[in-house]
Structure formats: structure tokens, C-alpha cells
Symmetry: C2
């Protein structure tokens, strides 16, 4: 066996991180590039992960009083003209619909029918801020209609030039929340609350640590009073902006006309927020948790939490081993677990590697001996061979929830440790320069006051660094800087 | 009180069915027309219904081994040229994307940037048949890869000229399933199976009866070997095609290239099916169940299954009544029910009518007397005042599941009876003529052999009738005819 073959994924993270990322996605069968420029196909295994993420987060936001709705895909151009700040914020790179019919052209191929040209073109939503705001302006009349918390799970499109699966694609899936309040205090508090929901969701469900904070003036969303963000550190030390929550003050309400009568009968503009996370989080999951053998799924959203591999040798015993595995699968499913019994007609080794590359948290192997002894052997994906244990089948059924929780905690602890250990606090731009010039990876933290200095700006420019946020933990006194996706 | 005010909805069904339909939607706050041609906004109450429908049906199809995935919104024009039969099947009326950037035009407004014109335009998916088929052609290599059952929940767009909320809008939400098999037998059986899933879902979950059958040659989907359909009868006697399942034979696999090596190593084309239902079903729900007082939600998908109205008069007792109601809400929620405690600062009568118009299956009223006696009063929406009952609160908590089941059964029985009682069996085209000329409503059933006769064609043309299906129950010997949406 050659040296390269020791890991399931080629190249390794150390050899070529971006290529390793693509290969992990391919090996786990999560997605592939589509025959549409800059777009991807989310394959069943990747989509099942997104469904689990949606399921958990959707429940969380409904507990916050958020209501889901659905707004049109197409945005009239008039809306774009109305909201200049937003048009600047969302790139003008967007898909424009100009015709509404096809007809057969001179060469026999279909063309947009010239007679179907639209008087006013539409764009495919890059966000629904404006069309939702327009509806809110109709729906909100009195203080009694507030707060109004709307969310939609949908596809959006931004014509991206350099795309990478999950991280940046022209079309992606997301949730966009748009909330309106009667007072500035409520709106700001809610904006912070939704960011906190994201941070907690990532920790509690995805086992991902992050640094939460406020965007600097330069980096905030145009039109927002404040943009709150949570930034994750990928294994290559780069930052991934994983989601944002904008406190828009009355800026947006004024431009789109969200007004209400307050308790005293006075007309007021509402105070609004918007907040979103997307399939980009799947990219964060991969670049944070996966290793040189492929994906490692956090147990609480893993499409399959346990995979059972029957190890069949002797035909005479195969049926009995299969029955034994089926009983196990049934018992685990009865506990509400997502279980796969891999009964495909393939070599056990291939199935084993498939489970490893897909990152299924717990792999169970059942052979002749296990069956006879009423036992099972299991291996944790996050640890590997060293976690191999043979225990009673009934004990495993009783303990599996605990095992999955342990895996979650271990993954989260690793994520936190990696992030904490790779944030370096410096006092001068010179130290920042020295750090990145030496090829070190991670984030640096410097006093926020340095942001105005030319020296720091020069260093940041030279090393393609950006200000990620002013971390809440330092109360705005420091700024976190890093390379980013 | 004027005569017109006796019903919550004006006009009534008898007065103006199409306008009544719009008013029911408005009164229940389910949807509204969007500021985008032919599109709608699905408001929170309408969207919550769709989410419940999705939740139930998604579970059903996953039990059938169907996997969800996500494919791009945009379809390259090349695909349209490749699949002539499909382009004919799906209207050429579709949204065409021709540019990918906006820029400021001469008058200061945004225009599609001429330099961003796409060499090859894209269309917004009217269906994903082709792009999913193209992926299947890559993913299917061997008989081991079959069956492959893929589904996606998504938005699609067809540029409709005459639109009506839920029934026909330019953009709508749906699920589209695309399955591939190694044999014709499996594919045909699965196509029938998915139709049966639809019929059962509608009966078991939406309390909607339908007539299932095969489309005639003229009405089937171009490119399909057979199109299976289920047709519902609305309260005005018109038919609504509620969903279809197509058995495509090898036609589609041949044009898009879905091939596999069979067990003998021979290359074969796959046998495929496709099947879909959409937000149109919400239109069916309304036009089947609602009455002159508004919506009646089938309990199993009702966004709110029980609404609790505190009847507050004396301030001194209000707090105690509210606590009593909160305890009730908590107990019902603990049973897994969707419950609304309507504590809005509004007149009780207004809240009562709001609950009626929204069609919440069970309305609970709690006043001073109920609280003191440890009782509640409840009213079934499907029956109204005559169902009013005052019982012990604990008894209600124990019996509510049964009450909701009873409502479901009663609604389904009514739906079935209405459909059955309004299907008339005739032997000649003359009888059909007589029936519709007299202004009667419903479906007529005639021997399938009459379909070829000119007389029947003339009658159908004169009365805007269409062949809905050859019902399975008559084994292809009869044809069901009606007016349709």
C-alpha cells in the first residue's frame, strides 16, 4: 500500500486544503456541481443534513414567536430602484428575467420570444428584504400588530463569479427572518437575541464554536445601524462568516414605509431587523469537523446516526446475523434514532470505508462471534479505531444516546479548543505583520483603536486580512482579524 | 341585522362561487396577491397549513424509500431543446433569464446591463424533469443503483395569464418526484402506488375524497405512456385535477440517457415515473370544505386544532379565567396538539368570528361559570352551534383526540357523499347534453366507447367539458366528464 493511500481522502488537509474540501464532499456524496453556471446539486445525503438542520432551527425560531410565510421569487425592478442602500448592499450581480415565453428561432432552436419582452424586468431574489418589507408596510397598522416576526426558508440567487460548493454558489438555500418592532430597544434586543440563537444552535446542534460580535463600520451591511455576526475558524485558520443579524433601526422602515399608530395615536416608523443563515453552514461543518478520512457528522443532525454493518462470511450463518442486525436496527429506531442497516451486496471493507467517509457518528459491526455472544462491536467516527468496543447488544441500546451525546460534546470541545488556541492577542500592527509573514494560521486580536491607523490597514492589505468583528466578549475594545472565505 | 350579514363571508357560495373563494382566503388570512404579476404571498396561516401538509406527506414518501434532494432553479436552454416532448408538455410560457447584472441606466434607474447578456439564456424551472433526469443519467450505472427515487420540494414557475390564488399562479410550491426502475413492471406499479399515496393522503389527512383513474390519450402528459390522476369535485360541481403520476416508460430515459447495465451485463434504458402535488391542493381544501362562514380546516393539518377563548367580563375574575385557560392550553399542548390561546385585547365576539373564518376545528369558550364548575364549553366548526357542549375540563382533555377524529371522519364522509351523489351515469351524448343544458352541476360518466363519437365531442365543446379520467373503479370502461378548473 502506498503512502498516499493511508487516508481515505486524497489530498490531505495539510497537502491542499481547498482540494481536500472538494474531495470530502465527493466522498461523502453530499453534492456536486450542476450543469448550471455556479450552481450545485445537493444530493440526498447532503440534503438530509440540511433537512435536519432546518428541523431543529425551525423549532427554535417558532419558540421565539416567528411565523413562516412565502413570498415571490421575483422582485420587480421598481423595488430595486426604491431601496438604493440595499441595492448597494446586495451586489448588482443578479439574474434578470426579461422575457416570458420561448419560441422556435430561425435555426430551429428555442429562443426568448421577442414579443414576450417584459416592460419592466424582474430579478430573482438575492434576498427578500424589500418584498417582505413592502408586505409588512401593508400588514402593520397599529402597535397591536407589533412585534411582527416573519421568516422564510427559500432559495436565493446572486450571480457569483468564483464559486465553491456550499460556501459560495450562485443559488443557495437559506432562511431569512424579518422582524418589526414598536421600539428601538426591542428591535436591538431581538437582533442580538437572534444572533444568540444562531450561536447556540451551532453549539448545541452542530458542535461548532464561534466568535460573536459586531461588524466594524466598514464591514457592516449598508443601511444597518449595526450588523452582528458570528465567525468560525476553519481548520486552515481562515474565518467563515456563518450568519448575520442586522439591526436596521428605522432606516429600512422609512424607505419602504412600515408605519404604525402608537398607543397615543401618533404615527411612527417601525424598527426592524433581519437575520439569516444558509447552506453555507454545511461548508462550515465540513471545514471544521472533517478529517483526512472524510466527513464527521455532528450526531444531532447526522442523516444517519448509527450504521450497522453485518460482517458475513459463512452463508449458513448470514441469515441469523442479518436477523440479529435487523432486531438491533428496530430497537434503535424505536428510540427515535436515525439508523442505517447497510445490507448492500458489497465487501464489508468497502461499506466500512463508505461509513467513514460519510462521517456516520457510530459504526456497529456484527459478525458471527458478536451474534453468538449477544454482543455488538462499535466504533466512534470522531475517535476511530481506538474507540472500538465490544459490549452486550442490550447495553448498547441502552447507552447509545449517551454515546451520541459524548461524541457531540467531544466535537464541540475540539471546535472550541481549536478556535481558542488559534486566536493570538497582539498590541501592535507590527506583531500582526510578523505573525502572518511567518505563515502562521489563525485569528489575531488587537485593540480596536488600531483600526484607524494606516499601519494596520497596510498590513491587512498585504496579507488579505479583514476585520471579522468586535467580539462581544471584549465589549468592543478589541477587533478580531483574519483571512476569510 | 341585514340579511347579507347572516354569513361571515359575502358573497355566499350560491351567490358567486369564485368571489366567495377569494373572500374565504382573505377572511382566513391565508394569502394575498403579490406585487408581482400572477404571483401570491402565502401568509403565515396559509403557509402553516402547507407546512403541516408537507410534514405528513414527506413522512409517507420517505417510508416508500424516496430521498429528497435539491436541484438548480435555472434550466439551461439546451435542455429544453433536447426534450421536445417535454417542451410541448410544459407550456413555453416561462420566465427567461437573459442577463446577470444591473446597472444604472441613462434615466438614473436600474436596467439589465447590456454587457451582462448571457450567451445562452436560462429558464426558471417549470418542472425539474430534465435537470433531474440529466443527473440520474450520471448517477445510474448498474442495476444495483435502481430503483432510484428522488423528490424535491421547491418553487416552480409557469407564466400563467389567468391566475387565481392557490389554483393557478405563475409561481407555486410543489413536490416533484422522479423515480427510475430496472423494469417496466416495477415502474408502472410504482406510478400507480404513488397515485394511491396521493389518494390516501388526501383522504386520511385532508378529508378529501377523489376519483382516481387514467387520463385519456388526449389529456395525458405528452411523452408519458400513461398519466394517472385523481380528480376532486368542488362544491360548484367543477373538477379539480389535484395531482398526477406519470408512467413514462423508457421514453424519457431514452431522450435524456438514463442507462444501466443489467444483471447480464447488457446495457438497458431505465423505466421512469414522475409524480407531483402542489399548493393547488390548498385550493381544493377551500373549495371542498369551506362554507358561507369561511374556512373549515381538516383537523390533521389545521395550523391550530383548538382555539381557546377566555370570555372575560369582570376584571376581578379575568386573571383566574386566564390561568384556567392557560392550564388547559398547556395540557392540550402536552398531548401534542396545536393550540391557540387567543388572549388578544379584542371583543370576544370578534375573536369568535375570527376563529370561525379561520376554520379552527374546535373552539373552546371559558367564562366565569365554566371556570367555577371546572368545565369548558366547546363548539365544532364543521357543525357549528348545534354541537355546543359543556363538559368537565379533564374530560375534554381526555376526549379531544376523539373529537378531532370525529370531525375528520365527518368531513371525509361529507366529501365522499357530495362527490358520489353528484356523479351521474348516462348512456348517450344526448343525456349529457340535457344534463348540462339544464344547468345541473357535477360529473357525468358515460361508456368510454362514446369518446370516439363526434356527438359527444360536440356536446363537450358546447359546454366546456373535458374528460377527467377513465376511473379505475370501472376498469377503463367508462369516462368521467366535467367542467374543470
Amino acid at each position: 500500500m502506498s503512502k498516499q493511500a493511508r487516508t481515505a481522502i486524497t489530498p490531505t488537509r495539510a497537502e491542499n486544503f481547498p482540494e481536500w474540501y472538494q474531495q470530502v464532499i465527493k466522498a461523502a456524496d453530499m453534492a456536486e456541481n450542476a450543469p448550471v453556471r455556479g450552481c450545485m446539486i445537493i444530493k440526498p445525503y447532503g440534503y438530509a443534513l440540511w433537512e435536519e438542520m432546518q428541523r431543529v432551527f425551525d423549532r427554535r425560531i417558532k419558540e421565539q414567536g416567528v411565523q413562516n410565510a412565502y413570498f415571490p421569487l421575483l422582485i420587480p425592478m421598481e423595488f430595486m430602484n426604491r431601496e438604493a442602500a440595499h441595492v448597494d448592499g446586495f451586489a448588482k450581480e443578479c439574474a434578470v428575467v426579461t422575457h416570458h415565453r420561448l419560441e422556435t428561432g430561425p435555426d430551429g432552436n428555442l429562443i426568448p420570444a421577442p414579443t414576450s419582452r417584459l416592460e419592466e424586468p424582474y430579478i430573482i431574489r438575492p434576498t427578500s428584504e424589500m418584498i417582505i418589507g413592502d408586505a409588512m408596510a401593508r400588514w402593520v397598522q397599529s402597535y397591536r400588530d407589533l412585534p411582527l416576526k416573519l421568516n422564510q426558508w427559500c432559495n436565493v440567487m446572486r450571480w457569483e463569479m468564483r464559486t465553491r460548493m456550499f460556501l459560495r454558489t450562485s443559488e443557495f438555500l437559506w432562511q431569512e427572518g424579518h422582524n418589526a418592532f414598536a421600539s428601538a430597544e426591542e428591535a436591538r434586543a431581538d437582533s442580538l437575541k437572534m444572533l444568540d440563537e444562531y450561536v447556540k444552535f451551532c453549539e448545541d446542534t452542530l458542535a461548532l464554536a464561534s466568535v460573536a460580535g459586531t461588524k466594524t463600520e466598514d464591514e457592516k451591511f449598508p443601511g444597518a445601524v449595526e450588523t452582528y455576526t458570528f465567525e468560525m475558524m476553519m481548520q486552515d485558520g481562515k474565518a467563515l462568516q456563518s450568519g448575520t443579524s442586522h439591526y436596521l433601526g428605522q432606516n429600512f422602515a422609512k424607505s419602504i414605509g412600515i408605519k404604525f399608530q402608537d398607543k397615543d395615536g401618533q404615527e411612527q416608523y417601525a424598527h426592524t431587523t433581519s437575520w439569516g443563515i444558509s447552506t453555507r453552514l454545511i461548508g462550515a461543518l465540513i471545514m471544521s469537523h472533517a478529517d483526512d478520512d472524510g466527513m464527521i457528522m455532528p450526531p444531532r443532525v447526522a442523516p444517519q446516526q448509527v450504521v450497522i454493518l453485518p460482517v458475513l462470511k459463512d452463508d449458513a450463518e448470514s441469515a441469523a446475523i442479518m436477523t440479529y442486525c435487523e432486531e438491533l436496527a428496530k430497537a434503535l429506531k424505536a428510540k427515535g434514532l436515525r439508523v442505517r442497516l447497510d445490507d448492500r451486496d458489497m465487501r464489508t471493507t468497502d461499506k466500512m470505508w463508505d461509513a467513514v467517509k460519510k462521517g456516520i457518528p457510530v459504526r456497529v459491526e456484527v459478525g458471527q462471534r458478536e451474534k453468538e455472544e449477544g454482543q455488538i462491536t462499535f466504533i466512534r467516527r470522531d475517535i476511530g479505531r481506538d474507540s472500538k468496543k465490544t459490549i452486550e447488544r442490550s447495553a448498547f441500546i441502552g447507552e447509545i444516546d449517551g454515546v451520541l451525546d459524548d461524541i457531540h460534546e467531544a466535537m464541540l470541545a475540539r471546535s472550541k479548543a481549536f478556535c481558542q488556541e488559534n486566536i493570538f492577542t497582539f498590541g501592535t500592527a507590527g506583531e500582526v505583520e510578523e505573525f502572518f509573514a511567518a505563515g502562521k494560521i489563525g485569528f489575531v486580536k488587537v485593540p480596536a483603536a488600531l483600526l484607524g491607523e494606516e499601519k494596520l490597514a497596510t498590513v491587512m492589505g498585504a496579507h488579505s486580512l479583514s476585520a471579522r468583528c468586535l467580539p462581544f466578549s471584549d465589549e468592543g475594545q478589541s477587533v478580531l482579524i483574519g483571512k476569510s472565505y
